[in-house]
């Protein structure tokens, strides 16, 4: 057997190389810089510079891109406009995420634990806290996650996709476990997320094996061609395809593969929830788009009903369960499940419009998600001794917030309205684009369900708005709940709020960019 060294065009991978290389350097910084405070400053500055540099490189590549794009590694990696568009979206989320990671309260308390290895409530933990230790590994971990997700958007091989999936998933599992407050819940969430993630990874890779068994191929385009040739009723192939899709739907958080979302969203440190909620969904959607459009499209008929069923279930269950939540983070988690359903609506008919609509939808959704969790991270309980405690996540604790800090509550209201798809917010344009793509693909029954679900969903979003603005400030809430205005979190809120409005009022520019990104480079034969 002859092994041929693959030819790799390294240049188009520059953004990913920058991010992953910097993540490795970040680990070294952990080892060599000794004072926690200095380490944090260096890590934040370094991470920001790296992410912005990567964003710049991505945009430069977009500008310099000739034709459809570049095949980086035969059948394995392709950098085309579609990939660059998703990478840009993920980098934007990464930049906002890293700023949020660094936010701390006025008392200087970060969102992350002092010592990740200490068991909750133990002596080591107390000592570490007293010494002012801080887990600053979160910054390189975020870079690993961003790098893995970027890779996820341009991989064109099922096995390679698995590698990228694990690169960002492992980083996220660790990040979820590092909350400073409510550590047990955080640990539990991480463990659940990890176990279920491992389970779904196993399902995915088993699916890849079955696809290989049916087609003797593992790359997207060759698998697509092989499906054309062999009978599309081959049970081996169909089972493999379903397993692969389930692996991705798990990352997307669609019903019935959603069970991890509420727990992970609730237990994770809020900055992690913000980043994870926005970026993981974007990465999963990007991969789903590429797989469905460049590989599995001959099976459209067979898998369409699965997409339809999962979309309906996600929208209905996500909405209904969000209605009854009394915890803000869980409510947003179930809302994210409903949004997974809305995202899947776009796949009805596999139209070209959907390819342009989805990055916009995810950008709009991600900005609002990061913004909303940035607000959540600033509403705090006050402990008995008067210091700032954990986040106030019970809905009742948000009553009258609009009267106490109108701007923060106003921003939250804006994000919620964007989730609900009220006009002049980014969410409205996103929903509109996705729904019209689905109608163009003949998916009007799905759109019907989606419209009703989003109308019902408006109730629980608006319920929180009502609670913030139209409810009296309860007795004594001033002593129990405090609004912490950390400058970095406020920066994130302002930027995302501006983004939501701009994308809602003047979406034309961004839409046309994504429009021109609606094409894939598919290697016809090799």
């Amino acid at each position: 057997m002859n092994f041929v060294t693959p030819e790799i065009a390294w240049a188009p991978l520059a953004p990913i190389i920058i991010v992953l290389g910097a993540a490795a350097i970040g680990v070294l910084i952990e080892a060599f810089v000794r004072r926690p405070a200095t380490r944090r400053t260096i890590q934040l500055g370094f991470g920001l510079v790296v992410l912005i540099a990567a964003l710049g490189t991505t945009i430069a590549q977009w500008a310099a891109l000739e034709g459809g794009g570049t095949t980086v590694m035969q059948f394995m990696l392709t950098v085309d406009r579609q990939a660059l568009a998703w990478q840009t979206v993920i980098l934007v989320f990464g930049i906002l995420g890293i700023i949020l990671f660094a936010a701390r309260t006025r008392a200087g308390e970060p969102a992350f634990t002092a010592l990740g290895s200490a068991s909750p409530g133990s002596l080591e933990e107390t000592l570490a806290r007293r010494r002012g230790l801080e887990v600053t590994e979160v910054f390189p971990l975020l870079l690993f996650a961003v790098g893995g997700m970027m890779l996820f958007t341009c991989v064109t091989d099922f096995v390679f996709l698995f590698v990228a999936l694990e690169v960002f998933s492992l980083a996220l599992y660790i990040l979820v476990a590092l909350a400073r407050r409510r550590r047990l819940m955080s640990h539990e969430a991480a463990l659940k997320y990890f176990l279920l993630g491992a389970f779904s990874s196993a399902i995915y890779i088993f699916g890849v094996a079955l696809i290989y068994g049916a087609t003797t191929q593992t790359s997207f385009a060759p698998v697509g061609r092989a499906i054309d040739v062999i009978s599309d009723r081959d049970p081996l192939l169909l089972t493999g395809v379903v397993l692969v899709l389930v692996g991705l739907l798990f990352k997307l958080g669609a019903v019935p593969f959603h069970s991890w979302t509420p727990d992970a969203y609730q237990g994770a440190p809020t900055p992690v929830t913000a980043f994870m909620g926005a970026a993981t969904k974007a990465a999963a959607t990007a991969a789903l788009v590429r797989i469905l459009y460049t590989s599995l499209y001959p099976l459209e008929w067979e898998i369409s009903w699965m997409i339809w069923a999962v979309a309906c279930l996600s929208m209905v269950l996500g909405t209904v369960l969000a209605l009854v939540q009394t915890n803000v983070k869980r409510m947003l988690a179930y809302s994210s499940v409903a949004h997974a359903g809305f995202i899947l609506v776009a796949f009805a008919g596999l139209t070209n419009e959907a390819v342009a609509a989805l990055p916009f939808y995810l950008l709009a959704y991600g900005l609002a998600t990061i913004g909303a969790f940035a607000v959540v991270s600033q509403v705090r309980e006050r402990t008995e001794d008067g210091s700032v405690g954990a986040e106030a996540v019970r809905l009742g604790q948000w009553a009258g917030l609009g009267k106490r800090s109108p701007l923060l509550a106003g921003a939250m209201a804006l994000f919620l309205l964007s989730f609900a798809g009220i006009p002049l917010t980014a969410g409205f344009i996103g929903k509109f684009e996705v729904f019209s793509a689905a109608i163009a693909g003949g998916g009007w029954p799905l759109v019907l369900v989606a419209v009703i679900a989003s109308a019902v969903a408006a109730f629980f979003y608006v319920r929180l708005v009502v609670l913030m603005f139209l409810t009296d400030v309860p007795e004594g809430i001033e002593d129990a709940v405090e609004v912490e205005d950390s400058p970095l979190a406020t920066l994130v809120v302002v930027v995302t709020a501006a983004g939501v409005i701009v994308l809602g009022v003047l979406p034309a520019g961004v839409l046309s960019v994504f429009e021109s990104a609606a094409q894939f480079l598919v290697l016809s034969n090799g």
Binding site: P120, G121, R182, L184, M185, E188, K192, L195, L196, F199, S200, I203, R233, P235, L238, T239, V242, L243, V246, F250, P256, F257, S259, E302, I303, M306, A309, L317, V320, L321, L323, V324, Q325, T326, R330, N352, E353, A356, P423, L424, I429, E433, S436, A437, I439, A440, W444, V447, L448, V451, A455, F459, V466, L470, T471, D472, L506, A508, S512, E515
Partner: protein
Amino acid sequence: MLTLTWLLIAVPLASAAVLLLAGRRADAWGHWLGVAASGTAFVVGFVAFLQMLGLESEERATSVHLFSWIPGGELNLDAGLLVDPLSMTFVLLITFVGTLIHVYSVAYMEHDADRRRFFAYLNLFVAAMLLLVLADSYLLLFVGWEGVGLASYLLIGFWNFKREYATAANKAFFVNRIGDLGLIFAMGLMFSYFGALDFDSVLSQAPEATTAQLTAIGLMLLLAACGKSAQFPLQSWLGDAMAGPTPVSALIHAATMVTAGVYLIVRSAPIFNGAPNAQVVVAAVGAFTLILGALIGMAKDDIKKALAASTMSQIGYMMLAAGLGPIGYAFAIFHLVTHGFFKAGMFLGAGSVMHAMNDQVDMRRFGALKGAMVVTWVTFGLGWLAILGVPPFSGFFSKDKIIEAAFVGEGWQPWVFGGAALIGAGLTAFYMSRLFFMTFHGKARWTDEVHPHESPALMTVPMMILAVGSAFLGLFLAMGDRFTHWLEPVTGHAEHHEPVLPVPVLIALTLILVAAGGLLAWLRYGRAEVPETAPSASLATLAARNDFFQDSVNRAVVQRPGQHLTRTLVYVDATVVDGAVNKQARGWAGLGEASRRLQNGQVRSYAATMLVGLVIVVAVIVVGGL
């Protein structure tokens, strides 16, 4: 100037933004900025109107391109404005009445600590309402549609320190969402049939579509219109919306926003013209609501709620006219304009009365106010004569035309619709006269602490101007069919048809019924003693007092099943899927419990859920497909 119509929206919007962002600093002058913004909008609108008058009637429609909104793909949509006689009519009505109500509010809200915020919301409303009527596509109209809903919601709940007021705001929001769904569905249908959402493409392609398609779109538009215009079966929110400050009731819940549904239907005329069945449903909804509103109005003792019922009933007239097709469109808008004047005037009058009576609204504790408040009495009286349809006041010209048009046609329709319109006129005369006599005539039944006095000039002057409109606007616009000709480029030319009864007979019948209604009201509420508490009444009156149990019906039909569905799903999720997770949300007690939770197999149940889902999918795709 026509190309500068975007200023109409931009100026009030900018003012609202300034008022909201400036905070307490703007408390001293904020209300005058609000008045100025609304006034500027009126001036811009009026200049544009004069310019439009100078054009030939075919050239009066101008498109104003704003910016490319949603480009690319199947649908290329620009944000633009459509300035034509129909939208211009609304612009003038909204900005003129709106400005007067702004001025009135300066005095009415004087003692409210949040007056600045109130004006910000009013400006926001004006901007959104103008966007609604000026939009050149259904999608942009939807933006305005949601915008007025939001402003209305904020203003109903403005005094949210009272719990029931916040509840009223929520109710308005929820009922309106149902209507909004109709508009969204209608847009979905248009997009799939015509591939476009702008008025120009949709309405020009409408004649080529099948009747079934047009009927579907038409019924969805009607659902939207019912939500916004408080028509049966979505009328329940309007009475509760009276919780808002009275100027809001005058502007939003009488003169402008609630008529948006009529605008939507008249604007979509080519769709309804091709769908006769949808038209009949529109007319039937209108006829039913006009009787229903009148019956509710007869039983209410709360002056604002009685006026709200009357608004519902009068919009029923407009809906009925809009459902009659080309012969009715112009009259629907005509009545909408005159109604905007006389009903706004009466609401302001009611506000003036409340101002004098320590914010009481129970008419059984009014009476004999004509001596204490002469200006209010006279201006309210003119509005009263106008809504009764007494010649030569405004309402006579507009309402009588609708009654005549309703009697045109073949078969059962003219008799049913015309009959409803005719009976409605009699009922209107009764309940409006009841309201008028109970408030201004008879014996004083005041509570001890009130000392009625006339309102300040800032309040009475707008009332006087509106009263002049209530008195003469109808005559002015009806002379030489001026208004009908003005709207002809939009609504199309209507052939003249003879009603099934001769016109003089109809006029005579109407006037007899009106006189009878007025007289009966005088005998029972003007001359006779009015008890200070509502007497026990027949079942029918009780039903009307309770809005014909609309709330109970809503609860039974919508709310309960919804709750049960939710509870069932939640139960399933909680027991089967979620296990102990909900417990965790409830009690987050000690470490021991937490560590126990970790081992109780939830993750297993999560994984099991995934596996079951996976197995089902594989089974259906693979086994089912084989």
